[in-house]
């Protein structure tokens, strides 16, 4: 390895707390060579973002690097005065953040934001700066850059904003780019574009990159070397090839095993026990010991040092190298198409949001968020609804459980059309269908105790129960979602994300529904916790015969959980069929692009990438003809004229496309 550009040694970052000092980063050491991409991988709370902020010295008040050293090209960054550090930021090290929306100044044009950096760090002004800004926007793949220079951030889509951020970061020609979850806030298709851009730029400019992420897929596509963080420490440091072939630390191995692409033979995901430890924990010996399956005497005796296995590869564990790939076994769901009469049958569902303008807020048009969706789910089975952000998935879910006013449509359940019900009659039916939301932090009322939360639905929909029966039911519910019954008296904020999602599931189960709409129930959770929730959902389905409408944009989760898949684009379903068939042989060009955009781990599911250009059009003014034609590589004139009707490609597999893959 050449001399490192950046070198961290024993960095410890301390948060001065009221009771005791906390160390979210606790002795982190690694090097990054010029032209190399180093990925820092870890779950939330593992300290990866704080490591990045420590390097840039952008730590919040009350948080400081207390020991260790950080050298950039031989300069000790921690010893620099703030004035000099400002020259380093943006010029030598640049950073791009997770949330493109909040990192750009909303009142400055794109051009001004980039020119500001050029002026500050390179002294470039006037025409020279303009030319350079144009070059940069061009380099990050923004179409029609001259026009964009004078636009404001709100006129750009999420993906474009992220590109502008990257252009701004590159403006100072930095030697090191720190990218903190650069694509977490983006859609898979846009994520694929941005990742490719980063890979390409890094190769061309030869800069070093510190990539911070929780997503193994992104690491696989981009990184040369990997550091796995756990509880403030690096537990494994390895070349990417070696890491993906056979990770050695028990935690790394578990991360792989809990990915939904790799169910164990029992059809369950292997899970890491417990959850990410809290910051204030006092450690004794190995920090992973409480959750480690391989824990043995000696693990808890003393701090475990990093142990080199071979040059460039070290782990923080008393065990040696396993040189074995992690357990892989797959047991797909029973793929037999049961010819049962559907529990839920939705026909031509439409939900339109009025667009109001002017003084008296006249309706001037409609956002056709859901524009004619038909689907059906048999009892005890799962239908997954996938698609990009904004395509209307959530709206379908809320429409079906009648949380939104419907424009038209039929929702047949048990022979009753829910769409026509109102008031009392609808209330009585609500027992049959429930919904679980994406954000476990927003879906539980912070002012209510767990018992009150769980009893709310019972009080409203099961008036036959008396108080003691309700209490008994609460206990049973908590047990069935794997929580202790002591949880009853506590408030939601005392629970972790995964536990909160369990509570949300228990709340839905309280009224014994037959159908649950799950709106991205795991997308806000860590990988290890996601596995627990997915297992729970599957167990409950087997035990209680629940049907799920599972809304997700995560293909691997869908593959694990769903019997059938429906792919949505701009308010309509474009392809539908059994999971295995659709995921293996996608027929619609959009499905193909969506699948190929999923970052793949080495060797598994590698597809030739199909990059979609542009973003999702506005549902207020969908393109004429096939909605997908402006982005479709196969579009013909016929596609622009009329919306394609359904084509059947096999049992239960239909697609709306004039030129489907056969």
């Amino acid at each position: 390895m050449s001399t490192p550009i950046l070198s961290l040694s024993g960095v410890r970052t301390t948060v001065r707390g009221a009771d005791a000092d906390l160390h979210p980063v606790d002795g982190v050491s690694f090097d990054i060579a010029a032209g190399e991409t180093f990925a820092l991988l870890g779950e939330s709370g593992s300290g990866k973002s704080l490591t990045a902020l420590s390097i840039l010295r952008l730590l919040p008040d009350g948080v400081d690097v207390t020991t260790g050293s950080i050298h950039l090209d031989g300069t000790d960054l921690l010893a620099l005065p703030e004035q000099a550090m400002r020259d380093v930021r943006g010029r030598r090290i640049a950073m791009i953040f997770q949330e493109p929306g909040t990192s750009l100044d909303p009142v400055m044009t794109v051009g001004d934001q980039i020119r500001e950096v050029l002026d500050r760090h390179l002294g470039l002004r006037g025409a020279a700066a303009d030319a350079r800004a144009l070059e940069l926007l061009d380099a990050v793949g923004i179409p029609d850059p001259r026009r964009r220079l004078d636009e404001f951030p709100f006129q750009l889509s999420g993906g474009m904003k992220q590109r502008v951020m990257i252009a701004g970061a590159l403006a100072g020609e930095p030697a090191l780019l720190v990218a903190d979850e650069p694509t977490t806030a983006l859609d898979v298709t846009i994520q694929a574009q941005v990742l490719e851009l980063l890979r390409d730029l890094q190769k061309r400019l030869g800069m070093a990159m510190l990539l911070i992420t929780h997503d193994l897929g992104i690491v696989a596509g981009l990184a040369h070397r990997v550091g796995v963080m756990y509880a403030g420490q690096i537990v494994e440091l390895a070349p990417a090839d070696r890491f993906f072939a056979a990770p050695d630390h028990p935690y790394s191995r578990k991360l792989f095993e809990s990915l939904p692409t790799r169910p164990t033979s029992a059809g369950r995901l292997s899970v890491i026990r417990g959850s990410v430890p809290p910051l204030g924990q006092v450690w004794q010996g190995c920090r992973f010991a409480d959750r480690c399956d391989d824990v043995r005497p000696g693990c808890r005796d003393a701090d475990i040092p990093m142990k080199a296995l071979e040059p460039g590869h070290a782990i923080r564990c008393i065990l040696g190298s396993r040189a074995l790939p992690p357990a892989v076994a797959s047991a797909p769901l029973d793929a037999v198409v049961k010819v049962a009469s559907p529990l839920l049958d939705v026909h031509d569902l439409r939900v339109h949001f009025p667009i109001r303008k002017g003084l008296i807020r006249r309706t001037v048009g409609h956002v056709r968020a859901v524009d004619g969706v038909s689907l059906s789910i048999p009892a005890g089975r799962t239908l997954a609804l996938v698609g990009e952000s904004g395509c209307g998935k959530t709206t379908v879910g809320k429409g079906i459980v009648r949380l939104l006013p419907l424009a038209t449509g039929r929702i047949m359940m048990n022979g009753v059309d829910l769409a026509t019900l109102d008031g009392r009659a609808l209330r009585d039916r609500r027992r049959d269908f429930q919904i679980i939301f994406q954000d476990p932090f927003a879906s539980l009322d912070p002012r209510m105790r767990v018992s009150e939360i769980l009893e709310e639905g019972m009080t409203a929909l099961r008036p036959d129960l008396d108080a003691s029966q309700r209490t008994a039911a609460v206990d049973a519910l908590l047990t069935s979602v794997g929580l202790a019954t002591e949880a009853k008296g506590r408030y939601p904020h005392e629970f972790s994300g995964g536990q909160r999602q369990r509570l949300a599931i228990a709340r839905a189960l309280a009224v014994e529904p037959k159908l649950i709409v799950c709106d991205e129930p795991t997308s806000a959770l860590d990988v290890s916790v996601q596995a627990q929730i997915l297992n729970l959902l599957r167990d409950l389905q087997e035990r209680l015969g629940l049907a799920y409408l599972f809304i997700s944009h995560n293909i691997s989760v869908v593959r694990y959980l769903a019997h059938d898949v429906a792919v949505m684009y701009l308010g309509r379903i474009v392809e539908r069929g059994p999971t295995e068939v659709v995921l293996r042989h996608p027929a619609h060009p959009y499905t193909e692009a969506l699948l190929s955009a999923v970052p793949a781990l080495h060797g598994i599911d590698a597809r030739a990438p199909i990059r979609l250009e542009g973003d999702l059009p506005s549902p207020a003014a969908p393109p004429a003809g096939c909605h997908f034609h402006p982005r479709c590589p196969r579009a013909t004139d016929a596609c622009r004229r009329e919306y394609p009707s359904a084509v059947s490609l096999g049992p239960a597999h239909t697609v709306h496309c004039l030129h489907p893959t056969r």
């Binding site: 704080l50 997770q98 950096v117 977490t184 949380l403 954000d439 709310e456 409203a460």
Partner: protein
């Protein structure tokens, strides 16, 4: 038979209602941790704890001044009934009876023994001279005021200092003792913890403020028995007494107004935000219209109208006190009507946000009724805004009363208030030699009240503001993202 008859004025009822509300809240808070937690935070803030003893003292005075009654004289022979005097008095009046009854003839300066202006006095021999006459009460125990006064005051101060030392030590022992018991420490342990700055509640600053307060009041009371510590006003009333009586008026205006406005603001704000559509349009229309009329105009019009009504129907009030009290109540109501729009707008916005929250959607998915959702989910989650607004508004209302009374549309001229005192001072300031003490006393007390209310309000806002809480909650994405981020890294 009681030697007195309790009297419940309108504003007394408001005060009782307020106390009942506070007690109900405390009972609730005992069961719900989330209600208690922010108050605990208030207890940890230095500013809040410095202000607390001062506010408590003001509240105590205001409360004592809200227990009204009429004195009775025992029935004379042949009469079965008690006869009650015409004066409506309060417990405070009894406690400081000497201040109330020791009236002079006209102005006198603080600690004066002689009147402020010359009077023509007829000597026993029939000749007339113009001189400063001795006061009836101020310093009347001194044989030779010119020479004895300073020594007398010094002596009394020393005695007061002795008493306040005893009181102060008692108070400190009580506070520290209570703290020690609550935290399971020994008394010495608590003291040691305080010395090391190792206490979660800023007891030290709180005690300093309490001790200063105790000392000041003991001294004022020790001297007020024989001197007019703040002088007397035009009709010879003790200004210290007037100031004490003004406290209740200020407190009533500051709190009862909010009490009047809360039901409107909360109901309308939540309804507008929750139901949106036509209801929202109507409510928004209402408050936009209301808030575009200048408050002073509205208040002046209403007060003047009521004044005319009261003047034409003098028979409905059997005493001056009742009449003044009615006007105060009316002022609270009209101030409430003009000031609910701000909170209403705030609550509407918050409710708009909350109704999209997934826990509200979840309740809707259970078919829970709108009324229940508003009560169980929305109200508890906007309640912090109500509390913050209430405390923040307090000092503004106290000042508003002063301004309104100054321009003559405030409280009844017969009612003691900081505003009427300042209004009267307008003429006094023009006299020669200048009469400055009423203005100074009113100003000092009002400043003390408003300042401590603001200090306390700041502490409350910090404790209740959900943005502060969000840091603790820290959802997955936000956990490490606390620092203010530069636009494009390095551009800063």
């Amino acid at each position: 038979m009681l030697p007195f008859k309790p009297i419940l004025l309108w504003t007394d009822m408001l005060v009782l209602l307020l106390i009942a509300a506070v007690i109900a809240f405390v009972v609730q808070a005992r069961q719900h941790e989330h209600l208690r937690a922010p108050w605990r935070k208030v207890a940890r803030s230095t500013g809040g704890m410095i202000a607390a003893p001062v506010l408590l003292a003001f509240l105590a005075i205001g409360f004592l001044d809200s227990l009204h009654f009429q004195r009775g004289t025992p029935p004379e022979k042949g009469q079965a009934e008690m006869r009650y005097g015409p004066d409506v008095l309060s417990v405070l009046d009894v406690l400081v009876e000497h201040l109330r009854v020791q009236q002079e003839r006209s102005f006198s300066a603080p600690f004066a023994t002689h009147a402020h202006s010359r009077e023509t006095i007829t000597r026993p021999d029939g000749s007339q001279v113009r001189e400063f006459p001795r006061l009836r009460h101020g310093g009347s125990h001194l044989a030779n005021p010119e020479t004895d006064r300073a020594a007398d005051i010094g002596q009394r101060l020393l005695r007061a200092l002795g008493i306040s030392t005893v009181l102060g030590v008692l108070a400190s022992v009580m506070v520290v003792g209570t703290y020690a018991r609550r935290r399971g420490l020994s008394f010495d342990g608590a003291l040691a913890a305080m010395r090391e700055g190792n206490v979660d509640i800023p007891i030290g600053p709180m005690l300093v403020s309490a001790l200063l307060l105790i000392t000041t009041f003991t001294m004022l009371f020790a001297l007020s028995g024989v001197y007019h510590v703040f002088g007397t006003d035009k009709v010879g009333q003790d200004v210290f007494y007037l100031t004490l009586k003004s406290i209740r008026t200020a407190l009533v205006i500051g709190t009862a107004t909010t009490l009047v406005m809360l039901p409107f603001a909360v109901t309308l704000g939540m309804l507008a935000g929750y139901f949106r559509g036509r209801i929202d349009d109507a409510i928004q229309y209402l408050y936009t219209t209301l808030s575009s009329i200048p408050d002073v105009l509205l208040i002046a019009a209403a007060v003047l109208m009521m004044q005319v009504y009261m003047d034409t129907h003098p028979e409905i009030f059997d005493s001056v006190t009742r009449r003044a009290d009615f006007r105060l109540t009316f002022l609270c109501i009209i101030l409430g009507v003009t000031s609910w729009t701000g909170l209403c707008r705030l609550l509407r916005g918050e409710t708009l946000k909350l109704r999209e929250q997934e826990y509200v959607l979840a309740a809707q998915a259970f078919g829970v009724s709108h009324f229940r959702i508003l009560l169980r989910h929305i109200l508890p989650n906007v309640f912090h805004l109500v509390i913050i607004t209430t405390v923040l508004k307090f000092s503004g209302l106290v000042l508003a009363e002063a301004v309104l009374s100054y321009v003559g549309v405030g409280v009844d001229p017969a009612m003691n208030s900081f505003g009427t005192m300042i209004n009267a001072a307008r003429l006094e300031m023009a006299r020669e030699p200048i009469v400055w003490w009423s203005l100074a006393a009113a100003f000092a007390f009002m400043l003390l009240l408003v300042l401590s209310a603001n200090l306390f309000a700041d502490a409350v806002r910090d404790a209740f503001d959900p943005r502060m809480r969000a840091v603790r909650r820290g959802s997955r994405a936000k956990q490490a993202k606390v620092p203010p981020q530069p636009r494009v890294a390095g551009a800063a």
